[in-house]
């Protein structure tokens, strides 16, 4: 570690290009050696050190001072190395600190924190950065002014890190993927264009090589490891790609229809939002007193066929509401059990009845089990 630091500082201090053998002499920690074997070991060590420096983003320049020299030399230009002066006012530093805190447990939490530290180091060096020298909590000062606002984004999907890495490297990937509602896992081959968090979930957008079309994949549905394919830098991202538009439109809404529903008073609040009341024309006396305790009453389309308003029990309201996906809407309605009854359209009613029958059949054996305390 000392050697790496000494090497970095030596390369920064020089204005001339230093050759490997010069570095071997100059830098504390290198032993260039005399035998061929020793020299070979030193060269390997230098190659590894060079790779470390480049990995953390140190701009290592190669060249030679003289056109007659055929040995390559190295140096680090301080202007390329250093973070440019970024004099942040205290409120600006606070805003960026808030931004940095967005990544709670994601792979980007560490880089965000180290970026903030670099900014604090670079910003304060140019003068008054509004720092508290005792606590060093420069980046936290002024957070109170931001409405006590605390955004956090999680990325617990194991696929997040490899997908992010592939996007950064511009490298194609393969991964097993399970489409929603499907049991089978299919292998995908994708040129990644970007990753996006939308409504709290992470997506990968890219070009599906097999299907030859743009596709969006939810990271939580990756069914196995992500494997890079081919060289880095091979992926060309179309200049006009709009990640947000791709993800938000991946499932174009179906034809919108209107459902007519009877909703028991004091229930179905979520359902009522976005719904509008329909005023039944029938006098209340015609309505069954109680749909549940009374004899099975046919609530539905029969009166409508005769050109009249449907019959609704006294303790229910008649509402209309738009829906797009019949099965999804049916699932929602079925959840309300006897508190929401579908009057139309018929395919929604049929979907709800089918689900109710399935639920009744699936739980039929439970009555006895529940009736016996401690049974089974």
């Amino acid at each position: 570690m000392e050697r790496l630091l000494n090497l970095t500082m030596c390369l920064m201090a020089t204005s001339r290009f230093l050759t490997v053998s010069q570095l071997g002499e100059l830098v504390e920690g290198y032993e260039p050696g005399v035998t061929g074997e020793e020299q070979e070991a030193f060269r390997r060590m230098f190659e590894r050190d060079k790779a470390y420096l480049r990995e953390i983003g140190i701009p290592l320049e190669t060249g030679a001072d003289s056109a007659f020299s055929d040995e390559v030399g190295y140096r680090i230009r301080r202007g390329d190395y250093a973070l440019p002066d970024i004099a942040l006012a205290p409120d600006e530093a606070a805003a960026l600190a808030l931004a940095g805190s967005l990544w709670s447990t994601t792979a980007l939490a560490g880089p965000a924190a180290s970026a903030l530290r670099k900014l604090a180091a670079g910003s304060a060096a140019v003068g008054d950065g509004g720092l508290d020298p005792l606590t060093g909590l420069d980046t936290l000062a002024g957070l109170d002014t931001l409405d006590g606002f605390e955004p956090r984004v999680d990325a617990t999907d194991p696929a997040f890190e490899p997908c992010l890495a592939a996007v950064q490297a511009g490298r194609a990937i393969r991964f097993p993927y399970r489409k929603v509602g499907e049991t089978d896992v299919a292998e995908r081959h994708v040129e990644p264009w970007g990753v996006l968090s939308w409504r709290g979930r992470w997506y990968l957008a890219g070009h599906d090589v097999t299907r030859g079309a743009p596709r969006v994949f939810r990271l939580s549905r990756f069914a196995g490891p992500v494997r890079p394919v081919g060289p880095g830098g091979a992926v060309r991202v179309p200049p006009d790609v709009d990640l947000h538009a791709m993800v938000s439109t991946q499932a174009p809404p179906d034809r919108v229809r209107t459902a007519t529903l009877a909703v028991r008073r004091g229930t179905g609040h979520a359902l009522r939002r976005g719904a509008r009341p329909v005023h039944a024309a029938c006098p209340p006396t015609e309505l069954p007193p109680d749909l549940l305790t009374g004899p099975p009453a046919e609530v539905g389309c029969r009166p409508a066929e005769a050109g009249r308003r449907p019959v609704v029990p006294a303790d229910m309201d008649l509402v209309e509401r738009e829906f797009a996906d019949t099965e999804r809407f049916a699932r929602w309605i079925v959840g309300s059990g006897p508190d929401v009854i579908v009057l139309g359209p018929p395919e929604l009613r049929a979907a709800v009845v089918a689900r109710l029958r399935a639920a009744a059949a699936g739980t039929a054996g439970a009555r006895e089990a529940a009736a016996v305390p401690g049974g089974r």
Binding site: L83, I86, G148, G181, G194, H269, A359, T363
Partner: protein
């Protein structure tokens, strides 16, 4: 990154950071770098023997810690931090852009200024940031009202849908903070109805008319402390029921949408999930809605309750329940 590059990165940042914070106590510096004081001491001891070729005292990094305060007298060439790496630039630029999209954010103007400086400073390293995006979906009008209340420290009156009980409630709340967790916006505050700290999801406030900023100062009692959300928004309580469901493949999405505490793959693409729930009515709704795609493993009472609800609903359509297993009614 390997442990070696991690540490090298930290050491290069440490020197200019310490220089910008002269006399900082060692524990505070360690905390800022997310390391232990012991680790920091090791770092300092290492930096102490590093420097320019020659190795004479004047060529070495000159730093000292007397008592617990650290001072850097001569950083040698390390007076400036290394520019941001691609990861660092991505992390900060993407997050700042996400915040900048939030309407009505106080400090928005400072954020814009900071973002402009940041984008200029990161240069090419920031180019990947265009390919990573976080959309913090907002409920702009409700959010604006709630933020105003937090800023002005005023009480709000909420018309709020308690989704788990399907109940529309009215309550006065002294706001404490606004949070975004797992894609949802929350107001945290002292609820006068519950006489406790509560979280309110903004999308369950009954529209822009569902929040009214009152002309009353917000005064949460001194004992009101923010909930620790580091383990997620939902914390199982002692009164919670353990629920185990077996999901057929079309219902696997449940594991994505609900705070499940356990997931087990079963043959045939089926999934067993465990969750803990305080309320039973939302569980009824979930299990009813899943129909044939779910089997209740635990608790036994849940299946019976769902069965009764399904029968009552079918009766409302003038229909009988299908002939079920041995226990089914005829």
């Amino acid at each position: 990154m390997s442990a070696a590059t991690d540490r090298l990165s930290r050491l290069l940042a440490l020197v200019p950071w310490l220089r910008a914070h002269p006399g900082i106590p060692l524990p505070a510096a360690a905390e800022a770098f997310g390391i232990t004081p012991r680790q920091l001491r090791d770092d300092l001891d290492l930096l102490f023997v590093c420097g320019l070729p020659g190795g004479a005292p004047g060529d070495l990094i000159d730093l000292s810690y007397s008592g617990d305060r650290i001072t850097v007298a001569d950083p040698q060439t390390l007076d400036r931090p290394l520019r941001l790496s691609v990861d660092e630039a991505t992390a900060l630029v993407v997050a700042a852009r996400a915040l900048a999209d939030v309407p009505g954010l106080a400090g928005r103007e400072a954020l814009d200024r900071a973002l402009e400086k940041l984008e200029k400073a990161v240069g090419a390293a920031g180019s990947v940031a265009g390919q990573v995006r976080v959309s913090l979906d907002t409920h702009a009008e409700v959010l604006a009202a709630v933020q105003r209340a937090v800023r002005q420290r005023r009480r709000v009156h909420l018309r709020y849908l308690v989704w788990s009980r399907d109940e529309l409630t009215e309550r006065d709340v002294d706001p404490m903070r606004v949070l975004v967790r797992e894609g949802h916006w929350y107001l945290e505050g002292w609820c006068h109805r519950a006489e406790a700290v509560r979280l309110f999801r903004l999308d369950r406030i009954d529209g822009p008319g569902g929040v009214e900023v009152l002309d009353v100062p917000a005064a949460p009692p001194p004992g009101a402390v923010s909930r620790d959300t580091s383990e997620g928004i939902y914390r199982p309580g002692p009164a919670d029921v353990r629920v185990v469901l077996e999901l057929a493949s079309p219902a696997r999405w449940v594991a994505d949408y609900y705070p499940v505490t356990g997931v087990r793959e079963l043959p045939g693409g089926r999934l067993e999930v465990t969750l803990h729930a305080r309320e039973t009515s939302w569980l009824h709704r979930l299990v009813l809605g899943l129909g044939a795609d779910v089997r209740v493993v635990e608790p036994p009472g849940l299946a019976a309750q769902v069965h009764a609800l399904a029968r009552r609903a079918l009766a409302a359509y003038g229909l009988d329940a299908p002939a079920g297993g041995a226990g089914g009614e005829r």
